[in-house]
């Protein structure tokens, strides 16, 4: 039996512009489970990214609740949200978004320094371990502008997990990468998931979606489909692709 880690009830998000109300999310109910690798797919404008913002506390929903640890984080003030980001949630963005004037090492270590309960030595050691895992030790004293897109995204992943977050949110993490770098990043995410990291990823990329244990399909702000898959293995990638393709076709993707 899977243990829920985060759940949303009646999640709505709408924007008003020139007296015209646009509903992006329409009463979405969703649950994310501990250790799961969940992917959200859907056509452009379906509300995938908005779902990610509202579930991660980056944006406030117009209505509904986002429950994490028994509390509605949608009502959290900024300070509590910051605490959540310091230790519980990690983020990976499509455009990497590393701080331009910090080295790769510093980009990874700085979020770790925010945790008062962890010593500097521990943070530095973990940052080095992560960079080593990401194959970036040689480059750790470089600025982001001196690294390639793939290297930057790997550093961003290391940054996202420095504080051992309970849940990792990834918004199109391979969207700005070439094929080689995409595979490297997806391998890293799969590996982390195998080690128990819960993940929620928004993507357009079928190859990225194949890594998931669970795919949610969003259309016009509503969850209209869900597909569960066995744990990912590179060996059964072909059969997964067929299964996912068939499922997506049934949803007219």
């Amino acid at each position: 039996m899977k243990k829920p880690i985060l759940s949303a009830r009646g999640l709505c998000k709408s924007y008003a512009h020139n007296s015209v109300q646009t509903h992006i999310l329409n009463h979405v109910d969703v649950e994310l489970y501990e250790g799961d690798f969940t992917v959200v797919m859907g056509p452009s404008g379906s509300g995938k990214s908005t779902l990610l913002y509202t579930l991660s506390g980056m944006d406030h929903p117009t209505a509904g609740q986002v429950l994490y640890g028994g509390e509605n984080i949608a009502a959290y003030p900024e300070k509590k949200l910051a605490l959540l980001r310091q230790g519980q949630f990690g983020f990976i963005f499509q455009q990497m978004h590393l701080v331009t004037n910090l080295t790769l090492f510093e980009n990874v270590a700085v979020p770790g320094y925010l945790n008062k309960d962890v010593s500097t030595l521990e943070v530095n050691t973990r940052a080095k371990e992560l960079l080593e895992k990401m194959g970036l030790v040689e480059l750790m004293n470089r600025l982001p502008s001196q690294a390639s897109g793939g290297e930057q995204q790997r550093a961003a992943i290391a940054r996202a997990v420095i504080s051992r977050p309970k849940l990792l949110f990834a918004d199109e993490p391979t969207g700005a990468l070439n094929r080689k770098n995409t595979t490297e990043v997806l391998n890293l995410l799969s590996e982390m998931n195998k080690e128990g990291q819960s993940l929620l990823m928004v993507t357009h990329d079928l190859r990225a979606a194949l890594r998931a244990a669970r795919i949610l399909y969003l259309e016009d702000g509503k969850l209209i489909g869900e597909l569960s898959l066995p744990p990912y293995s590179p060996d059964d990638e072909k059969s997964r692709e067929t299964q996912v393709n068939a499922w997506l076709s049934s949803l007219k993707w």
């Binding site: 300070k79 910051a82 963005f93 004037n101 910090l102 320094y113």
Partner: protein
């Protein structure tokens, strides 16, 4: 049309920078217009009033002796002289106003109804009485500066002491006396009725009187002929050479010097403020340069797009120049208009100092001309600075090709958990040093000027001002009469010693002596080694030596080691310049020597004594004892009752406050402008930090810390600049006051208070200006 549209869009897009430049230009033109207009008003009012009062080009205050007649007729007949007007006057040496002893050389003159040329101030002193009632017996008109000098008002009493008793007058009103009415001129003319004048004249003392309380004088108003091609000082020198009139004079005063002395305070204030405004203009130029550079960098895509649409480099530069010019123009117009009430207010502030009714005319031609020059300079700078627009190609801009982030490894402090916020702030600074270079210079300039002003106000203590006037630090001041001789000092000090040991004593006299044909204020000391302000060479240790101020040395064309001829009445002797000293007497045109040295030409006697007690608490007892035991040869009083220097300190404090206030406003505008730019540039990083878990407050503190760091570094520049330049700058500014060798006494307060104030302002303003950080969310990092 396209220029207008781009101009409007540019202004709308950069409202912050636009209005910041408006504010900065406003402050500059506001100050300049006020400075120029107030000084112009005072000068023209003085000239006008002196013409009304028929003041001569040279006015000699001569003793009324029978030998005068010959000298007067020689003057009248001199080819360089147009005409001569004589006025009678009595000199009263002991006057008490509202209970305070007069520190001025006081002339009592006749008030002649119908011919009286000095207007009387109305009750609120914002105009003149239209038909003032004539003086009645026992009433007196005094110059307006008396109100500040002696804290008196209409109805206060004024006592003239004579050897035949006291005459008590009631102050009837304050007059505008332009010639010697100003606060800083040591002579004052008071006006009484014909009856009172005649009564006092009957009590005039002879020259042989031991205690001369009332003397008969003449004022000779000498008018230089229009045909004369000499300067007024040359005219005076030549006239003396041909008539010897200085030998009959207690003192002379040129009309042009009177105007200069009356304006001295406003000129110094204006000098300080002008220097400050020049530096402010430099700051505005720096900030405009910074704004243009960062603006072009941030707008490079727009510029590239416009170029791709056919806009030329010239057109885009024209738009940018117009954008900054319009901000400067609005600021200049607003500044010029807002200066009008300031001119009125400043005029009223200076009214008690100049003794002249304040007028609020705007020096339109001069101040607008100056504003125009500033605008022209600013626009030329902007046009030059926008040349960078040419380097932006449409392709490069649209591809988002910006300069890579770079930081100097020598300044690279690793970001660690300990001091995380400060280290991030430092990194933010080092990774964009170029952008902050302008701020460093600006802080340096502001701190430099603030330190200089603090040094100046701290140095202007009552004691230092007294010493600058050649006085000696003392507890008891003695006024010595003709019966006093220096050999009595031993007995005098022995008696004082019974009440309190004498810490030190000095006996002095003040005369106007003729040096190489021109007369100058001279202080004579019984012990010239006590002249504290010798700046070069040494004190006049021998009887044939003198010290002169650098200003006087320049005027005489003499240097250390040179010889001058000094005369007084019939006596004459040569003296060697042994040193330069500093004195504010006659705004630095003075000399000093020993009393023994003075006796080489005339039997000069000590006139004043300055006693410093080891037990200052015994002051009252000593004064009382001296007046009882030595009353026949001296009068003694509390030295603190002397010259009132509060006005100087108050006015300097006012100028300092203004400079500090403007510096704070500048700091605010500059920080606000740079913060806005920085915020736009760093918005993505702010979002990233928030996604990491940094709170808005923490990020704002990092922002503020960065600016605190910059202000600290800028302050170091300011402090170093002060060490190198403050003395020189203040000496230049105070040269007209006679201070040519200003030596700053640095204290922790003078150095660190301005730096801390600017630091605090930068920290607080940056924190306030970074409020927009609250509205940045990590959501902005997500690409839809």
């Amino acid at each position: 049309m396209e220029t207008f549209i781009l101009l409007r869009a540019g202004i709308r897009h950069k409202k912050g920078a636009f209005w910041s430049i408006v504010v900065l230009m406003f402050i500059i033109t506001f100050s300049i217009t006020a400075i120029i207009s107030v000084n112009g008003n005072i000068k023209s009012n003085l000239e006008h009033a002196m013409a009304e009062a028929d003041v001569g080009d040279v006015v000699a205050f001569v003793w009324a002796t029978p030998g005068n007649a010959d000298m007067v007729s020689k003057i009248r007949e001199n080819a360089q002289v147009d005409r001569l007007r004589e006025e009678e006057a009595l000199t009263a040496t002991s006057i008490t106003i509202n209970g305070k002893n007069s520190t001025n050389h006081t002339l009592l003159q006749r008030y002649v109804p119908g011919t009286f040329q000095y207007p009387v101030f109305n009750e609120s002193r914002n105009g003149f009485e239209k038909s003032p009632s004539p003086l009645a017996k026992g009433e007196i008109f005094v110059p307006l500066s008396y109100a500040s000098l002696y804290n008196c008002k209409v109805g206060s009493s004024l006592v003239v002491k004579t050897n035949a008793g006291e005459n008590v007058f009631r102050i009837k009103g304050f007059i505008q006396e332009p010639f010697v009415g100003a606060y800083f001129i040591g002579i004052k003319s008071l006006f009484i009725t014909e009856d009172d004048y005649s009564e006092l004249k009957a009590r005039v003392d002879s020259e042989t009187e031991a205690v001369q309380l009332l003397l008969d004088y003449r004022l000779l108003h000498i008018f230089q002929a229009d045909s004369s091609e000499l300067t007024v000082p040359q005219f005076k020198k030549q006239l003396h050479a041909e008539t010897g009139f200085l030998d009959y004079s207690f003192a002379t005063l040129l009309k042009e010097d009177s105007i200069r002395y009356s304006q001295i305070f406003t000129k110094i204030g204006a000098g300080i403020l002008t220097a400050f405004v020049i530096l402010l203009f430099l700051i505005v130029i720096i900030i405009i340069g910074h704004s243009i550079s960062t603006g072009i960098e941030m707008d490079s895509v727009n510029i590239g797009v416009l170029k791709s649409q056919g806009f030329t480099k010239g057109k885009l530069r024209q738009v940018l120049t117009l954008q900054y010019l319009s901000a400067q123009l609005i600021g200049a117009v607003m500044g010029n208009l807002a200066a009008i009430p300031l001119i009125k207010w400043l005029g009223r502030i200076f009214q008690p100092i100049t003794g002249m009714l304040a007028t609020a005319d705007v020096a339109v031609v001069k101040s607008w001309g100056m504003s125009l020059a500033i605008l022209l300079l600013g626009s030329l700078f902007v046009f030059g600075k926008t040349a960078r627009v040419g380097a932006i190609t449409p392709l490069r801009a649209i591809a988002g090709d910006r300069e890579p982030i770079y930081f100097d490894s020598r300044l690279n402090l690793a970001v660690t958990k300990r001091g995380l916020d400060a280290l991030i702030a430092f990194r933010q600074f080092t990774s964009d040093k170029k952008q902050y270079a302008a701020l460093l210079i600006i802080v340096g300039i502001l701190v430099y000027f603030m330190i200089s002003m603090t040094l100046l106000t701290q140095s202007m203590t009552p004691q230092s001002v007294r010493e600058s006037y050649g006085n000696f630090q003392s507890d008891v001041a003695l006024t010595l009469n003709n019966r006093f001789t220096l050999d009595q000092t031993a007995a005098l000090e022995e008696e004082i010693g019974k009440l309190s040991p004498v810490k030190s004593s000095l006996y002095t006299a003040n005369f106007y002596l003729t040096v190489d044909g021109s007369e100058y204020h001279t202080t004579l000391y019984n012990d010239p080694t006590k002249i504290k302000s010798v700046t070069k060479g040494r004190a006049p240790l021998y009887d044939n030596e003198i010290v002169v101020t650098e200003v006087l040395a320049g005027e005489l064309g003499k240097a250390l080691g040179d010889t001058v001829t000094i005369s007084y009445r019939s006596g004459k002797a040569d003296y060697l310049i042994s040193g330069y000293y500093e004195s504010m007497n006659d705004v630095g045109r003075s000399l000093a020597m020993s009393l023994a040295g003075g006796e080489r030409i005339y039997p000069m006697k000590a006139q004043e004594g300055h006693i410093q007690l080891a037990k200052p608490d015994e002051k009252e007892a000593v004064i009382s004892m001296l007046n009882d035991r030595f009353g026949t040869v001296l009068t003694s009083k509390d030295a603190e009752d002397g010259m009132d220097v509060d006005l100087i300190s108050t006015a300097l404090d006012g100028v300092t406050m203004f400079i500090f206030a403007v510096s704070v406003v500048f700091a605010f505008v500059v920080v606000f402008m740079v913060c806005n730019r920085t915020f736009l540039k760093e918005r993505p990083n702010i979002g990233i930090y928030k996604a990491m878990g940094f709170t808005s407050v923490r990020l704002r503190l990092q922002f503020a810390l960065r600016f605190l760091l910059i202000s600290a570094m800028g302050s170091v520049i300011g402090i170093l600049a002060s060490g190198m330049l403050s003395n020189r700058m203040i000496s230049t500014l105070l040269r007209s006051l006679g201070i040519t060798n200003f030596k700053a006494s640095y204290t922790l307060f003078s150095l660190f208070f301005p730096a801390m104030l600017i630091g605090l302002c930068f920290f607080v303003f940056a924190y306030l200006a970074s409020a927009k950080i609250k509205h940045v969310t990590p959501k902005e990092l997500i690409v839809e």
